[in-house]
């Protein structure tokens, strides 16, 4: 087997085309920025024939040029992804083979975008996202990793080799290296080369997405539950409660995050059981949240309330006990048949929730302080509604815009935090394929071999960037109302 090149036979035509287009695009962008400083602000001006005035002159040309050059570059990039799908194995090089591996993801993405664009007027805020270019790019990047994690996690589809198996002779080998005869795997190459333990970097990178996609949103949801349950009363009642809670929140925020991680996520601390107690404390908030939410709405109809609340709280309670109950820690009282799952990285999960919750608390508190003076709150008070009903069913829905935007940003921030934990080797095993740990592994030999550290770094960057762009698009669209 020969080693794969980056672009294979496709490169002979597409590479020069891409190079020319990118350099032209760069020139056009620079020209546009430089000219933009001298040009007067553009105002809409309609011509007698009913058309609108476009900007003329050099700047106008630069602007049109940027637009078309960008579209042409995009077309070439898409060609790199699409053409290999119909070429036989090995012809289209590493990029082509990677594109083939991601085929289920492409299909799902296209289906999702087509369906969402068709029905976008009926889908509320989510549908409006498809009016904003930035939001669409961000959503595309995020969903790319969500689908990747889905297909890898449930069907083992995209990976090419086992992410833990070491193949002798492939240590630190460059991308596209052929594996020895008889090695198990879907294809006979390491697409992105081997790491310093001779494992397939491509498979490790895509497996790492499962870890991030599974943990980051969940941890953010828990942080939001804690922040909302405490922030609403703090902002609504004010007074002593607010002072105490705000002081505690500021206390946690004044801690440098890395110091906190180093203090919390060590084997010695896990031995004392502090993370388990913290989990027991922090994870009870979803129970409180849903309990109060349903009770405040339905307490006037006890029969209906019981019918809804008992199953909801029962399932949540069972999940709660299964999460905090773990073999080998201080909280271990459930019989085995009742314990649904064991989370081996509970301590990572807890510390990420713990770090995020105070910021959410501050945001919710600030929003509540603002919203509690509104007329609809006064109206609800006049109707005689309870305080919790007003907080959860009047104020919270009206605060959803900023909270949804912050939720997207916070998932990105949580991803960065998880990466930081991995980067310092805290709480995760060194075998773990998550992006932070692989970057940490790769950086040790970075000056000699760059290829092990770059794929996880780019993957993490693209996911966080996607979440940031998505948040930006959502903010823009929700402000238009």
């Amino acid at each position: 087997m020969e080693a794969l090149t980056w672009t294979g036979s496709l490169g002979t035509i597409l590479n020069p085309a891409l190079a020319i287009l990118v350099s032209l695009l760069a020139v056009a962008i620079v020209a546009q920025i430089v000219l933009g400083f001298f040009a007067p602000a553009m105002t809409l001006q309609s011509n007698p024939d009913g058309t609108l005035q476009a900007r003329g002159g050099a700047l106008g040309m630069a602007e049109t040029g940027v637009k078309y050059l960008f579209l042409a570059t995009l077309a070439v990039v898409i060609a790199y992804i699409v053409i290999p799908l119909v070429m036989p194995y090995g012809w289209a090089g590493i990029i082509g083979e990677m594109s083939k591996r991601f085929l289920p993801v492409w299909v799902s993405l296209i289906a999702l975008f087509v369906i969402s664009s068709v029905y976008k007027r009926k889908l509320g805020l989510y549908g409006k996202l498809f009016d904003s270019m930035v939001g669409m790019i961000g959503f595309g990047l995020v969903m790319f990793w969500v689908f990747t994690a889905f297909y890898v996690g449930f069907f083992d589809m995209i990976i090419t080799h086992d992410y833990l198996s070491q193949v002798s002779g492939l240590k630190n080998k460059t991308p596209g290296v052929p594996v020895p005869e008889g090695t198990e795997g879907v294809i006979p190459h390491y697409l992105l080369g081997g790491d310093n333990l001779a494992r397939d970097i491509f498979s490790r990178m895509v497996t790492g997405s499962v870890f991030v996609i599974a943990i980051a949103p969940l941890a953010t949801i828990f942080a939001f539950m804690v922040g909302i349950t405490l922030g609403l009363p703090a902002g609504f009642y004010g007074g002593k409660l607010d002072t105490v809670l705000s002081f505690i929140a500021n206390l946690i925020l004044a801690f440098p995050v890395i110091l906190l991680f180093y203090l919390l996520v060590t084997p010695e601390i896990v031995e004392t059981g502090i993370p388990s107690y913290m989990a027991a404390f922090l994870f009870v908030f979803p129970l409180i949240f849903f309990g109060v939410l349903l009770n405040s709405r339905y307490y006037t109809q006890p029969a209906k309330r019981n019918a809804i609340m008992i199953p909801v709280l029962g399932i949540l309670g069972w999940l709660y006990l299964s999460v905090i109950n773990q073999k080998g820690t201080v909280i271990n009282f459930l019989p085995e048949w009742l314990d649904l799952f064991d989370i081996s990285i509970l301590v990572v999960f807890v510390s990420v929730v713990f770090v995020n919750a105070p910021t959410v608390f501050r945001i919710v508190r600030g929003l509540t302080l603002d919203l509690r003076t509104r007329d609809y709150v006064a109206a609800a008070q006049t109707r005689g509604e309870g305080a919790w009903y007003i907080m959860l069913w009047e104020i919270l829905p009206n605060a959803r815009g900023p909270l949804i935007v912050d939720f997207c940003l916070r998932i990105g921030y949580t991803t960065i935090l998880l990466g930081t934990l991995g980067f310092f080797g805290l709480g995760l095993s060194s075998e773990s394929p998550d992006w932070g740990s692989t970057i940490n592994e790769g950086r040790k030999l970075l000056l000699i071999f760059v290829h092990p550290a770059l794929p996880p770094a780019v993957a993490l960057l693209s996911l966080v960037l996607g979440l940031n762009l998505l948040a930006d698009g959502l903010r823009e669209e929700s402000l238009k109302d």
Binding site: L264, G442, L446, A457, V464
Partner: protein, 351 residues
Amino acid sequence: MGLFILRRLGIMILTALCLTFIVFWLTNLTPNLEKLAKTQGNARMSDEAVVSWLDNRGYSQALPVKYGQWLGVLPGYVIEGADGEVRARCQEPGQPLEDASTFCGILQGDWGFSTVFKEDVSGIVATRLGLTGKLMFWVMMVMVPGALIIGVLAGMREGSRTDRSLSTVSIISTATPEYVSGVILIAALATKAFIDWDTIPFKGTATSAMDDATFENFFLPVITIALYGMGYIARMTRASMTEVMTAQYIRTARLKGVSFPKIVLKHALRNALIAPFTVIMLQFPWLLNGVVIVETLFNYKGFGWVLVQAAGNNDIELLLGVSIVSVFVVLITQLISDIGYVFLNPRIRIS
């Protein structure tokens, strides 16, 4: 104003006490102490030997007592150990017991002794802080002007193409944590992986920058930290600038016929920079994070590197010293940002 500062100072001291107590409690948990005994004494000590080792050195006292001694408000212990030797907290090596002072804690300026570096904590913290100070100075020199220029340019014409492209740049920079941008920058600029340099322009480590910082060995760590903070400050500046540009007095100036550059520089800029000032101050805690990552990545042995060493080896007194400094950095910057906000904003200053 005076009362305001006093109240803030009071809260600050209370916060600092709470935080150091938490760090003290977490580092003094039994498993941590046992580990300390085994690394300091003998790795194969029996359980009784561990207990007596801890007893002899005052580690088995009650937590508030230990904390008080460390702080310097309670007299240091004098313990006659099971092995007959008398040890005192305040005894210097080689000093007779009678000459030892009664109180020795942070308040007396005695920061303790690092078990990893075998040096006084105050000395280690001072030298390492100096090195990090050098790094931070250059980060600020790059980050603040860069961020303000990007933010002002983007914010002066909201919705223009310049605005959109610069905003995208700042979103990208906030989405790139230091360990990602550092790795990418090293790969691109300090190795021959992407560009076949004749001579590689930058160094991938900053160890030599500790003695002699040059553009070659110091640029990458500085730009790595600066990039992450830059985007955030730029976005805040942009938001504040767009708000100012829609204000009445700017419209008046435009109607009077003042030229656009003059409006931006003379009328808008001053008011637009109030909000970014507080944001820049509040960036310090985040920068501290970046410093730890970058110093580890570039092997620059500054304050962040010491934090990792102290925490990784459970060097209790060094870790406490490091946390005090970092907590105070955070709290003081918060204080300055509050005072500065009041000071810069005439509407609040007068009321």
